[in-house]
Subunit: 154 residues, 2 copies
């Protein structure tokens, strides 16, 4: 059984991201994994990532989680689509072309945030990811990200 | 001459935001001001807010800046639209309904980031803000945010 996350397979040159890089000591180090056809990520926000109201999570933080989880999912999906298993070779490097977040209702600060993403489309270097962010069993935000691989098409 | 920023006029109950609240000791404390019909914000990212590549700023951080600057601009614009001057009464409280960020090119980590926003529309409790984020004289990202006031229409 493999307990490593997508982010653990990033090449070292791509591992400095504040949201997900294993080489960023100050970063969030979020971890994403497949769960069937969906990718999932769980994260508890540090208590200082409050929004305008003290008991809610900062929207920019939720956008950050969606961004990094989408990038990781795009990388893993593209990699899998090319016939590789995780760990065969480092994951490709994806950057965000466009990120849209719709905020449905406030996210409480003191709970586990769940991100659950689906691959909408893989088209050459472009991978589109749709994400539902939930907490305490309710949908709090939805994300839609267009990610682009920096690697050449092979 | 008034050197206070929009965020300095938030009511205390709305001042805990990680991005812009004056009561969040760990937060970014971004500051926004009018410059003619545009609102502006300048910010230098801490060195650990790197993206996948060590020399670029994390996209989630840029989304956070756009989010908070848009919220502040929406509040100031709505307030002004109702005939108030800054400081007359606390600013209304706006939250993000939807945030879209298009990433045009990487943002270098060691420079001043400039956000410049225009009010696209004020319609009841809903204010739409368009933002251009630049660094070193080049556009790096564009934001489009729909912000909603929590106050009742008056």
């Amino acid at each position: 059984l493999n307990n490593k996350a997508f982010q653990d397979y990033y090449p070292e040159g791509y591992a400095h991201c504040f949201g997900c890089g294993f080489l960023n000591d100050r970063g969030l180090k979020i971890k994403s994994n497949w769960e069937g056809e969906e990718s999932v990520c769980y994260y508890r926000a540090p208590e200082y990532y409050t929004g305008g109201f003290p008991n809610n999570v900062y929207g920019g933080f939720l956008a950050s989680l969606i961004d990094c989880h989408s990038a990781a999912t795009a990388a893993a999906a593209s990699h899998r689509d090319q016939g590789y298993a995780l760990g065969d070779i480092p994951l490709p490097r994806f950057v965000t072309a466009s990120l849209k977040v719709d905020y449905i209702k406030p996210t409480p600060i003191d709970c586990i945030i769940e991100l659950r993403s689906q691959v909408v489309e893989i088209k050459g270097r472009k991978v589109t990811i749709a994400t539902v962010l939930s907490a305490e069993g309710e949908v709090r935000a939805k994300g839609y990200a267009i990610m682009v691989s920096l690697a050449k098409e092979t």
